[in-house]
Structure formats: C-alpha cells, structure tokens
Symmetry: C2
Subunit: 226 residues, 2 copies
C-alpha cells in the first residue's frame, strides 16, 4: 500500500485528496508514469443545459501537458476549445483486492486527474501533438504511417491541457483486513489476497488489404505495456 | 466494423451519436453487454464553482440501472446524491487499429454512456446493490466474504442511475484505409491490421495474513473476463 504525504503534484485545494489520502502520491514522476501507462482518458464536457458527458479519448502526455484530439464537427469538442473548464482522468486497473470483508475489498489502480481549460493547437504544434498521440499508443508507428493530409487536419481538433492542477492516486499491495476478521473462526478461513489484472497485447491480425509479404514490424511485436 | 442503424438504446437528442454514427449500436443487449464487461466506470460530478471532476468508480449493472458507491464523507459524492445531473461512462479497449494513415488509425473498443440523475439507495435495496457490485467484480465472492457492518454501511453511499438515457458505441474489425493508401507505392508496404488488447487476470497473490491451508477458491481461478 502506497503511503506518501500530501500534496499531490500541482495540488490545489480542489485536487487535494480527501478520501483515503494515503493513496495520494506527491511526486511529478508518478504523475507522468500514470499518464504514460494509460491508453484511454475520460474527459468531461457539458452541453448548454449543463448536462455533463464523459467521453473516452486517445491522448498522450507531452512534457507538462496532455494532448488529445477529436472531430472539428463535434459540438462537445468545440465547447472544450471555447474554454469550458474540464477534467481529464486516466485510470489503469492493476488488480482486485480481496479482503475478508466486502467493505475492505478494493482494487489496485493507478489514476491521474487533470483539471483545467484546454487550448486548441494549430500548425506544427498540432502536428507534433498528433505525432505524440500516435507514438504514445504505439512507439515507432509515426515514422511508418502516412501523416495527415490538409483535409484530414481540417477535420481534426487537437487540444492541450496543462498539468497545472492534478492529483494522482495509486493503490498497491494486499488487503488490509480489520483484525477481528483475521482471527474470526469463520472469516479466517476465507481466502484473502490480490488478483492481478494485466493489460496485454495479442497476436497482430493482418488487414485483408495488407500484402502478405509485409512483415509485422518489430515495434509491434516487441512492444510491452508500461 | 460494426455498422448498425440509429437509434441507440434509450437514445435521445442528447445521446444521439453524431460522430461516426456507424459505430452506434441500437440494441439493449449490447448496452448490457458493455456495462457487464467493464470493471471501472468514470463518473462526472461538478463542484460549486462548476469545475467538473471525472472519478473512477467500481460499479455494476443491476437490471435496468447501474449502481456504484463512494464515501458518505465525499463532498462530490454528496452532490450526486443531491440530484446533480451526471454521466457515467464505461470503456473497454479491445485493440489498436493500425491503418496506413495516422488519420484512419483508431482503436477497437466497447463504450457505454449513461446520462441522468442518481438516486441514493438505502436499507435492503442498498445492501443488494453492494452485493451486486461485489458479484460483478468477482462472481461468487459475496457468499464468502463478511457483509458490511452497520458502521461500514454508514460510511458508504450507494447510488443508482437508471438506464433511461444511454448511448453505446462499439468498434470492431480492421482498419479502413483510403484506397489511395492501399495502392500507394510507399504506403502499400506499411503493415496494416489490428493489435488485440486483452485484459486478463494473473496468478492470485495470497495475503500475508491468509492461512496457507486456505485454498484459492474456484470462483477466482476459473473466472475469465467477458
């Protein structure tokens, strides 16, 4: 179980972790690690009526910001570009934590939350962000694939959110049973521990349109999730 | 690639899928499937200033609603119980989709979004919801573990969100390259296809406080992710 003092990186009163604060992680390296370990982020955006939506997006960390993209035709994405406050959260699950009690049972996870206002990118800066997202998903791919055309670029909205106001929570380790459960005649006979969760890649499946003589590149076969 | 007509289950003007609508899935069985396949949901909640937060939560589908829980001490969770509009999204990633172009590259995924207002559960209804969450994470566990005490119940806030207004998006299959890339002298030599992503469970790790003679139950060793 991670137990580190507050504050979290870029912590403010809004991101100070009030619940189970011992899972809060203070250092910037941990923030970067969690953001680098995820493949999908969930971003909040509200419509005119105040109804919130939580959208899954591909993203990447680029230095001290996260970049993500959507369609220029998306009403919700345009709201983000117009300066609506947002939150982007990345969560990786690492295991089920099975205590004797339902209450103490939990999950091991790594989660980072970034608050702020996104800014829209353009020009070479946007192209660099798109490259960073592709490389985050699969390092080595950008050099191989065709970069976006002017028309494709026009259909893409790329946003950046600075890592100014963030929180990170990481839970590791086994269950923390209450002492009464550990010595209880019934519940001491219940299996307790963790079940790891792994996110792995399977065997690549060639597209029907891909020539059989084109070998699967090493950057695909050799890649392992952080 | 899934291509099914609109509308999505419980679709309204707010949840009608405008972007890549061919990924929208209309049937209720698909909605249930996606919610049953996830382990974590991301829920939106705003503070008094209108700043949104996206929180990862354990959850489960219970019939035609999703149930999830948090701490009664959580200011944000109390806002949800007080009737703030919210959105709960579940996303499972199934693969990287590698087209010849960065623009047509994508991910295979299953995602469900539920809009509405949560209601707080109590009494036997709440206990049933807590059971459902535990059983969703690991079927068979509830009968083994100690149910929550009155004190633990008092520290837990359990919420339900009806599946009244929802959307489901599912992408499957390989890349859909533009014809020019498939025949291009350079890009026809680029490997194209999908890299499956699997979420699997590893070998259970016994807690130091768990007696060595307590065998790992079959509901743990036999469980496979949907």
């Amino acid at each position: 179980m991670t137990e580190m003092p507050l504050p979290a990186p870029g912590a403010t009163e809004r991101t100070r972790i009030r619940r189970i604060p011992e899972n809060a992680v203070p250092d910037r390296a941990a923030l970067h690690h969690v953001l680098d370990a995820g493949l999908v982020a969930h971003v909040s955006v509200s419509d005119e009526s105040g109804q919130p939506y939580v959208l899954p997006v591909a993203y990447a960390r680029r230095g001290e910001e996260v970049v993500f993209h959507g369609s220029t035709g998306s009403r919700l994405f345009r709201s983000l570009a117009d300066g609506q406050p947002t939150c982007l959260t990345v969560t990786r699950l690492d295991g089920l934590v099975l205590a004797r009690s339902a209450f103490e049972s939990s999950m091991n996870y790594r989660s980072a939350m970034v608050l702020g206002t996104a800014r829209r990118l353009s020009g070479d800066d946007e192209l660099d962000a798109l490259r960073t997202i592709t490389e985050h998903l699969l390092p080595g791919r950008w050099a191989d694939c065709r970069p976006p055309s002017a028309k494709e670029r026009a259909a893409t909205m790329t946003l950046a959110l600075a890592l100014d106001e963030c929180s990170v929570k990481i839970r590791t380790g086994g269950p923390e049973d209450v002492p009464e459960d550990v010595t209880d005649p019934v519940y001491s006979r219940v299996w307790a521990g963790t079940v790891p969760i792994h996110e792995d890649f399977g065997t690549p499946i060639r597209s029907e349109e891909c020539l059989a003589e084109v070998e699967v590149p090493g950057y695909i076969t050799d890649w392992r999730r952080p």
